[in-house]
Symmetry: C2
Subunit: 349 residues, 2 copies
């Protein structure tokens, strides 16, 4: 099936060079792929091949874009022609199937929210993050999805169940994990924990068809990979995700110190280097498929800002797969069924 991916050529620490290089890699390996680059034509042209891949891509020009460290809301207001906004408009008009961007995360989420219609029945979109988990936990797939890590502060039970469906389709279709295990992040394993919203969510998830719910999970289960999908409100997801980054930073600092501090430690680290490399590869974002922004009628995949060509082509590959599997359609069908099943519960009488 022919798939048209819209790429924000200006987004990413190494844009547009690595972004375009990654897109071309994806075009080479997938003959039924077409790419629309959105960005400054003069900056994009130098990275395009002279003769190859002719007709496999287009350029939509704009001279505005959001920089990586810009304040998302302000930048979008000041740049109504920003490349990320144009990307969303193109897919909204049916000129493309999905958006991939390695740019400013906040701006990607806001631009999607501003332009794209939601899947009917869904109230809140979610930003999901794939993160590496321990291979030593039985059942762990070495990667898990945490959502929401975006802008939702607090969520209703209904919204949290919707997140479970979004995560389930993404992990099963895109990451290839059959019947991914869904855990509800809570402050205890018992189903009575966490207050009214989480108790109700727990009850709904127990009965949700197509969701492989394994119950509440706790903070300690997050790095262990006890669940393939962890459901939580955006505030908590944000703290958890950033904490994983913080722990990785501290470990890096420690090994740097050990390496420079003592000869025996230096030799020790050198002997461990093959293991450390393996670990680095495991915790390298380029190995993961990026962070999907779920809940909109069109799929938006946020690749990591640090993405190089390889990581970006991987993000495109995953996005094309999701489009072909009609993930957004499947999410919509399941959620419509769930909402219908609980129509009485959701009425405020």
């Amino acid at each position: 099936m022919q798939v048209k991916i819209v790429v924000d050529a200006m987004g990413g620490d190494q844009a547009p060079g690595e972004i375009i290089a990654g897109s071309l890699l994806a075009l080479q390996s997938d003959p039924k792929l077409h790419i629309i680059f959105v960005g400054d034509e003069h900056k994009i042209q130098p990275f395009l091949p002279k003769y190859d891949l002719a007709g496999r891509y287009d350029i939509v020009h704009t001279s505005q874009w959001v920089t990586m460290d810009a304040s998302p809301k302000k930048a979008l207001l000041e740049n109504p022609e920003a490349s990320i906004l144009k990307c969303m408009s193109l897919v909204n008009e049916g000129l493309g199937d999905a958006v991939v961007s390695a740019g400013n995360t906040g701006a990607s989420v806001l631009a999607a929210a501003q332009v794209l219609p939601m899947i009917p029945g869904i109230e809140r979109s979610a930003l999901a993050a794939a993160y590496p988990t321990s291979k030593f936990t039985p059942g762990s797939h070495g990667v898990a999805l945490l959502l929401d890590v975006g802008a939702t502060l607090h969520c209703s039970a209904k919204q949290l169940v919707h997140f479970a469906y979004m995560g389930t389709y993404y992990m099963s279709h895109v990451m290839g994990i059959p019947e991914p295990r869904v855990g509800l992040l809570n402050n205890g394993e018992e189903e009575t924990k966490g207050g009214e919203v989480l108790v109700t969510t727990h009850k709904y998830l127990r009965e949700a068809p197509g969701v492989n719910f394994i119950g509440n999970v706790e903070g300690k289960d997050i790095p262990k990979g006890l669940a393939d999908i962890i459901i939580t409100e955006g505030f908590v997801g944000n703290v958890v995700l950033k904490m994983l980054e913080g722990v990785a930073d501290v470990v890096k600092d420690m090994s740097k110190f050990a390496f420079s501090h003592k000869l025996s430690w230096k030799i020790g680290l050198a002997l461990l280097s093959s293991g450390v490399k393996r670990l680095k590869k495991k915790t390298d974002y380029s190995e993961y498929g990026g962070a999907p922004i779920l809940g909109f009628k069109k799929l938006v995949i946020k690749a990591h800002g640090r993405s190089n060509a390889k990581a970006f082509s991987n993000a495109i590959r995953i996005t094309a797969l999701s489009v072909r599997d009609n993930i957004t359609g499947q999410i919509g069908d399941s959620i419509e069924k769930f909402n219908r099943q609980h129509r009485m519960d959701f009425m405020e009488i």
Copy 2:
């Protein structure tokens, strides 16, 4: 100043042996200390010295106690004479100055709530947890306090500011950190982040006299030790604390694997062992002062369940120091002033 500490002799993985041994160590090093052991006399007696320290301790007998893995609420209901409840009653009647327990955390918090009066002006008690932080972050003291990690699900701005005062007195007096830096856990650095409660808390903390507020902190700052005290509602604190435990478990699993998997890795780890030992010491709970339960008129210190004699004597030492510094009185004075300053804000009109 003479201090009477009430010890739950039945609480802890290695109770009563290590609990009593630790208490005796504390008595030996502090001539103005008196200890009341609460628990089963027949189990306590064998661990007491024949002649030494006569008159320096008493035993209050009870044949009921809460086991480490018991469900707290149920256990307290079924054991109205439980040692931890007796401990609270003794300090409430003025027969002791503070309680130290290495037992079931939930039961300690619930027993305190059931028996002890709150400091006037405080609405919610907090369970605080000291955790190790990176020494590589400028300003880090190698230890920080996270609160609440207890039972509060959601908090008001007023309650969060109270936590800041509790933490400030504990860290400055007990841990000896002058003007400890207070951070408010949030999903962004900007003061507009986190919703109404956190925005208001931020505003209050900026103006709170005696609180060294450094602004919002994010998940990544938690392991780095950017703040000496991190304020958050109990749900988030619980997830964060358990995640730190989970990460430590994963690191342990990985080194075990590396040690057994490859000779070069085994030798590498052996060469690093002095560093690993240092790290283990740093992340060893026995080096920390236990988790204070703050907000009650009498101080309750929860030592780690795994406490050995050394760790438990350290918890007693810290508790005696807190009593002599009249920490609960100082917390009460500051909070009374803060409440008065914001009396208009807290009125619901």
